[in-house]
């Protein structure tokens, strides 16, 4: 009971930190490139209006960058304070990309950030432009290494389990870097950051147009934002498709939860919109939806790029499906327990010098190693993540993503035909879409992280085995402390940014 409580509070604290962190990061990822493009136009054309536009958006970027740092650093510390078992077991692999992120990417963006923000009159135009691009590239490289680490947790590759130390150790750095889950996650995540940055620029520029202030600069900004947003929205769909394909291959329980699919079948459709039946339980005969609108074949195609493909449902994954060659969770748990017992037996045999027994135990362990993590689960239904949260988050993310694509298209179209000023409703929608971008981003992370429960490392390490040996009270206290600090930081950021926006684009 105490252990479960500790796991839940540790999980809640990490979720809190990650969700607050993700309020600041996407803007850094997207706005940095938008600013770099604006400054490039200034350097290429020599038009000082573009310098003023760049400096305005750069001020907003700087506020966000500075406050975002705090949450990111705390998150990395939590691997040591709250997840020390996790850090011990997989630190050899997980630590490498995090170290590269700190040494290479974070130092790069931080160093050139100073030149970019304070160096307007101190370095040449070209040097300044280079610094701005390096801040953008550095912040995105920072995301790359974090997402390589996260992708490895979703699909652990390039590693070997050392039975003598009971730790996972890296066997191939390149496998970790080129892991399909790493690149699909990286591209989809930075894509969402680009869309968020674009929404921010389009929304704030729309507000200026509605107010009739800084009209020319706002129009120029809105065209940059909408164009960047439109291109990157298409990129987001392509990377999202690849991401879903990887989920289908490596995390079938997540895919089933994303779609509320209980009984798997071939030619599976996607539920475009629907309401889950809250009384539905795993294994019962109740309908999973109260109502739904389905797009036929789409889930089979999304998951396996084949409209005839079989998509496993929750019941298939829990109880097994012999016809489709899917093993039951119960069988996996039994094999996992055999692996754990074999590891214990191996260690005892080694200690007592019984080489033959150690060899047999090792062979048994290796035969059951892929199920190692399952041995720590007690109930077969534990392999399924919270369905409702994963399902609704996925649909919110996709729905808003499609809305943003349409928004960018119409804003850009009316800007190009010089009729944007009269489209008050569209401009208002653009302003109100800024928070929707944050909601969509958070929903995406909920799908990625809640959807992979109960695993810290997919199939290898359940979250309950990854926590530190600390008191629940300590985690609860720091949870509330962080909640207060992060909320104050967020309020501070919003206030400072709103103040800057109200001051206008003049004078930058």
């Amino acid at each position: 009971m105490e252990d479960a409580l500790l796991t839940d509070w540790s999980r809640a604290q990490f979720a809190l930190t990650a969700m607050y962190h993700w309020l600041f990061v996407p803007l850094t990822l997207g706005l940095s490139f938008i600013i770099a493009i604006m400054e490039t136009i200034y350097v290429k054309t020599g038009n000082v209006v573009w310098k003023e536009i760049t400096k305005f958006w750069m001020t907003l970027f700087a506020i966000n960058f500075a406050i975002g740092l705090a949450t990111g650093i705390i998150m990395e510390f939590e691997f040591g304070t709250n997840w020390s078992n996790y850090s011990w077991i997989v630190g050899d692999i997980f630590g490498a990309p995090l170290a590269i992120e700190g040494i290479m990417a974070f130092f790069m963006e931080s160093t050139f950030f100073a030149v970019m923000f304070f160096g307007w009159d101190k370095v040449s135009k070209k040097m300044h432009l280079l610094s701005t691009w390096l801040v953008a590239i550095g912040s995105n490289l920072s995301a790359l290494w974090i997402l390589v680490a996260n992708g490895w947790m979703q699909n652990p590759v390039g590693m070997v389990f050392n039975v003598d130390t009971a730790r996972f150790e890296m066997e191939s750095f390149w496998d970790v870097l080129f892991n399909p889950n790493a690149y699909s996650k990286f591209l989809h995540t930075i894509g969402s950051g680009y869309v968020m940055g674009s929404l921010f620029v389009v929304g704030i520029s729309a507000w200026y147009l509605l107010k009739g202030r800084d009209v020319v600069k706002a129009k120029k900004s809105i065209v940059v934002g909408a164009t960047f947003g439109l291109i990157t929205s298409i990129f987001l769909i392509v990377s999202g498709d690849e991401s879903a394909h990887e989920v289908a291959l490596h995390q079938p329980t997540k895919l089933a939860a994303m779609e509320g699919l209980y009984d798997g079948h071939t030619r599976a459709g996607i539920v475009a919109v629907g309401q889950l039946n809250s009384e539905k339980e795993i294994g019962d005969k109740k309908e999973p939806f109260i109502w739904e609108i389905e797009i036929p074949y789409a889930l089979s195609f999304l998951g396996f790029h084949n409209t005839d493909a079989f998509v496993a449902g929750i019941n298939d994954l829990v109880y097994g499906n012999k016809e489709q060659g899917i093993e039951s969770a119960k069988s996996k748990i039994e094999k996992g327990k055999v692996a754990i017992e074999a590891l214990r037996s191996y260690k005892e045999a080694k200690k007592s010098g019984d080489i033959a027994k150690a060899k047999t135990a090792l062979e048994t362990f290796r035969a059951n190693e892929p199920y190692f993590g399952y041995g720590y689960l007690s109930d077969e239904k534990e392999i399924i993540p919270p369905v409702a949260l994963t399902f609704y988050s996925f649909h919110i993310m996709v729905g808003f993503g499609l809305w943003f694509l349409m928004l960018f298209f119409f804003v850009l179209y009316f800007a190009m035909v010089n009729r944007l000023d009269g489209k008050k409703m569209l401009l208002r929608l653009a302003v109100f879409s800024i928070p929707l971008g944050y909601i969509a981003g958070e929903a995406g992370w909920i799908v990625a992280e809640v959807g992979r429960q109960p695993w810290a490392i997919q199939d290898m390490l359940p979250v309950g085995m990854a926590t530190s040996n600390v008191s629940v009270t300590a985690v609860q206290t720091t949870f509330w402390l962080f909640a207060i600090i992060f909320t104050l930081l967020m309020i501070a950021e919003i206030k400072i940014i709103l103040k800057q926006i109200k001051l206008g684009m003049e004078g930058h």
């Binding site: 490139f33 493009i37 490039t40 136009i41 995105n140 699909n155 590759v157 390039g158 191939s172 390149w174 496998d175 870097l177 080129f178 892991n179 399909p180 790493a182 690149y183 699909s184 990286f186 591209l187 930075i190 894509g191 680009y194 020319v216 129009k219 120029k220 065209v223 940059v224 164009t227 960047f228 439109l230 291109i231 990157t232 990129f235 392509v238 990377s239 690849e242 850009l412 800007a415 190009m416 010089n418």
Partner: protein, 44 residues
């Protein structure tokens, strides 16, 4: 253990700079169009 296809991964990773470059090019085209529009409007 899954075999990782490095070639496919590199193609996917290389999409990142390509997208930024394409976005930049489209921004330049659209901005040129917008500035011409503003100029024409001012002349009128």
């Amino acid at each position: 253990m899954e075999t990782i296809d490095y070639g496919t991964a590199m193609i996917w990773y290389s999409m990142w700079p390509v997208v930024i470059f394409v976005a930049y090019k489209f921004v330049r085209i659209n901005i040129e169009h917008l500035e011409n529009n503003i100029e024409t409007k001012e002349k009128k």
